[in-house]
């Protein structure tokens, strides 16, 4: 083993399920990353960022886990070109706070900013703007990857090792450890959004509205209620926005148009019993969330209000109690929008409560063999772990796969190797590329073992 300081501890994902024990090392520079990789034991090694993946991709039972949050430098920000050079352990939150004063905006932001650059590449994360800007990998101009033999490679999307570049995008950390990346950010005039909010009282209308004039908006998402049944089944809030220009702001806002207004107001204590989210509380929450957002066009909102309402509350996953929860996210082709209704109906009929339901439309996918987004509808459900959930999800898997859909590896925590093989037809192509840089299988994770990716 490496001589770097280490500690043995249990790790779990954001869903707080299936913890396993690993030796955790926190390297401070790429040389220490390489040293840890070359001295990894028989159970292998995997990089971990801020632990926001729901399942087990950043766990490695009995092996080594590299805590990448020790690599924290923002090396350079070029205000003209929008090009930034950052260490893999830097969070999206940190990078945004550093880049915004230059009028630069991260084009891809998921539901939380507590994601490292390395994690964003490994999961090829996406945001509400996918239909316009694609996923995170589309904005990486270069990356530095430390591979299994400890060698350092500079990869670009179209360079001599472009295959390895794209296998690393969405590759869940299994091709090597990203230590640094060059990203291309967008120019913005303000840090605000001009938001159109529409309250729509059933699922069919909601999906219909979400399909129309989508091209007019840079960001688009809807939340809906999966508790209410009957004619208002799937009633929801469609929220779409464009970046606000200076002219859109009030004179007060104009004084500091690039103000990054993202406070964290409270941290949830770890005291909640299991079963707190039940049919009753789910109904109350759904009612409140639906009522709080009446239809309103052109409202100016800051990043927290529009993109990251949950980032106000730290450790909100604790609210689900000690048994944890899972997030079920899949994509189905656009013409199979009917699957959204079927899935919701099954969840409701089975008596499970999903409070945070998010529906988006993806645009074109990218070249990465394991990248999740492809043109279609993507639905994301949060469900507390309870009896019968495994069987329900297995049933949903069949519906999703039969419709030509697939699961998101960063959220996945319980499906089968077969489901991944079916959903990702280019898996073998990815495996071949991985085998050329990691023939001995040095990189390993619980997710990789569970889904037989390696």
């Amino acid at each position: 083993m490496t001589s770097l300081p280490s500690e043995t501890r249990a790790l779990h994902g954001w869903g707080r399920t299936a913890p396993t024990v690993a030796t955790v090392i926190t390297p401070r520079n790429p040389e220490e990353v390489a040293a840890a990789i070359t001295s990894a034991g028989p159970r292998g090694i995997i990089a971990r960022g801020l632990g926001r993946s729901y399942g087990d991709p950043a766990q490695n039972a009995g092996g080594t886990v590299l805590d990448m949050t020790g690599l924290t430098a923002v090396h350079s920000i070029d205000a003209d070109s929008g090009r930034v050079v950052v260490d893999a352990g830097v969070s999206l939150d940190t990078l945004m706070r550093r880049a915004l004063p230059f009028g630069l905006w991260l084009p891809v932001l998921p539901g939380t900013r507590q994601v490292t650059i390395g994690g964003a590449i490994g999961a090829d994360i996406h945001g509400k703007a996918h239909h316009v800007v694609g996923s995170f990998g589309n904005h990486v101009e270069a990356m530095t990857l430390v591979t299994a033999d400890g060698s350092v490679r500079e990869l670009t999307p179209d360079g001599p090792e472009s295959e390895l570049f794209w296998a690393t995008v969405g590759g869940m950390g299994l091709t090597g450890v990203v230590v640094r990346a060059v990203l291309k950010l967008h120019h913005v005039e303000t840090a605000y959004f001009k938001v159109d909010t529409e309250q729509i009282d059933n699922l069919a209308d909601l999906m219909d509205r979400q399909t129309r004039d989508d091209e007019k908006y840079a960001e688009s998402v809807s939340w809906f209620d999966a508790v209410t049944t009957g004619e208002h089944f799937g009633r929801g809030i469609l929220t779409r926005a464009n970046h606000a220009t200076l002219a859109d702001l009030t004179s007060k806002q104009r004084r500091d148009p690039l103000k990054f207004d993202a406070p964290q107001l409270l941290t949830v204590p770890d005291v909640f019993p299991p079963g707190l989210l039940n049919k009753l509380t789910g109904k109350i929450f759904s009612e409140a969330w639906y009522r709080k957002s009446p239809t309103r066009m052109g409202a100016i909102q800051n990043i927290t209000q529009f993109l990251h309402p949950l980032d106000i509350i730290g450790e909100w996953n604790r609210g689900y109690g000690p048994h944890g929860f899972l997030q079920y996210q899949f994509v189905v082709p656009l013409e199979r929008g009917d699957v959204i209704r079927t899935v919701l109906e099954r969840v409701t009929a089975a008596g499970h409560v999903s409070a945070l339901n998010v529906l988006k439309r993806f645009g074109e996918g990218n070249r990465a063999p394991l990248s999740f987004p492809k043109p279609g509808w993507t639905l994301c459900l949060d469900i507390p772990i309870g009896p019968g959930l495994g069987a329900l999800c297995a049933e949903l898997d069949a519906i999703v796969l039969d419709a030509g859909g697939r699961h998101y590896l960063a959220k996945e925590s319980r499906t089968t190797p077969e489901a991944i093989r079916r959903g990702y037809p280019r898996l073998d192509e990815w495996r071949k590329i991985r085998a050329t840089v990691d023939p001995e299988g040095v990189f390993a994770s619980d997710l990789a073992r569970r889904l037989e990716l390696i």
């Binding site: 043995t8 396993t20 024990v21 690993a22 159970r43 009995g62 495994g390 319980r414 073992r449 569970r450």
Partner: protein, 251 residues
């Protein structure tokens, strides 16, 4: 790996023809097909068990395992873990024996002690070592309420289970820092081949019911469970009954 909803992918059953053990494997396989390793002496019953699990979609491998051949245990365990991680291991082999013969005949008593206690300790150490390196997993040991307080009618069996129970209870603590959960299961009277012809005790149960308790223990990471659950309170009371009264009870 055990997934977010508590489903394992692979199970090792030491005592591959145990009715309770097989029922537990079937209960897990009800939610998803498993890779199963059945460790037992070769027999028609073992072949039958393999077929039964394969019909459920499981991939079954059998391993030649003799509880009394203690020196072969490390090798058997090595083979069981050779093809990949084992998520759940169930220690389910054991003998009931005839109590009157067991406490009056030396070879009979020694055999019972060796199978139920010594062999259970032997595989516990070997499996524990593997799980420690693996950094995750669940180990289930079938104890018995008979081990909680010895009765005149089956105290030799009870004494072996008492030893097994104490060992695995300690192993629970020893393996906990390594991400491994050890569950000690204490069934009461279970209707199986082992108890055929015996008079059923109160709160008697079936292999399927015990299997449910095992599945629940693994999913909930419970370290000590009774089957059926109310036995816990019955035994709590019985443990403290003074001996002169205890020996008069119709147990």
């Amino acid at each position: 790996m055990i997934d977010a909803v508590g489903n394992p992918q692979s199970i090792l059953l030491l005592g591959g023809t145990s009715e309770i053990g097989l029922a537990a494997v079937e209960a897990f396989a009800g939610d998803r097909p498993l890779r199963v390793i059945l460790a037992a002496r070769p027999s028609a019953r073992l072949d039958g068990a393999k077929v039964r699990l394969e019909s459920r979609g499981c991939a079954v491998e059998t391993l030649d395992f003799d509880a009394l051949a203690l020196d072969t245990h490390p090798e058997v365990v090595e083979k069981a873990f050779a093809a990949g991680d084992v998520d759940v291991t169930i220690v389910a082999f054991g003998l009931l024996g005839d109590n009157e013969q067991s406490w009056t005949d030396v070879p009979t008593a020694v055999e019972l002690a060796q199978v139920n206690y010594t062999a259970a300790v032997s595989v516990g150490v070997a499996v524990g070592d593997k799980l420690k390196a693996q950094g995750h997993g669940s180990l289930v040991a079938l104890s018995s309420v008979a081990g909680e307080r010895a009765r005149r009618s089956n105290f030799v069996y009870g004494s072996t289970k008492a030893g097994l129970d104490a060992f695995y209870t300690g192993l629970t603590e020893a393996l906990r820092p390594f991400g491994v959960t050890v569950s000690v299961v204490r069934p009461g009277f279970v209707h199986t081949k082992m108890t055929e012809g015996l008079k059923a005790a109160p709160l008697s149960t079936t292999p399927e019911a015990v299997a449910e308790v095992i599945v629940d223990a693994v999913r909930g990471k419970k370290e000590l469970v009774w089957a059926p659950a109310p036995l816990r309170f019955v035994m709590s009371a019985l443990r403290h009954v003074p001996r002169p009264i205890f020996r008069r009870l119709p147990l």
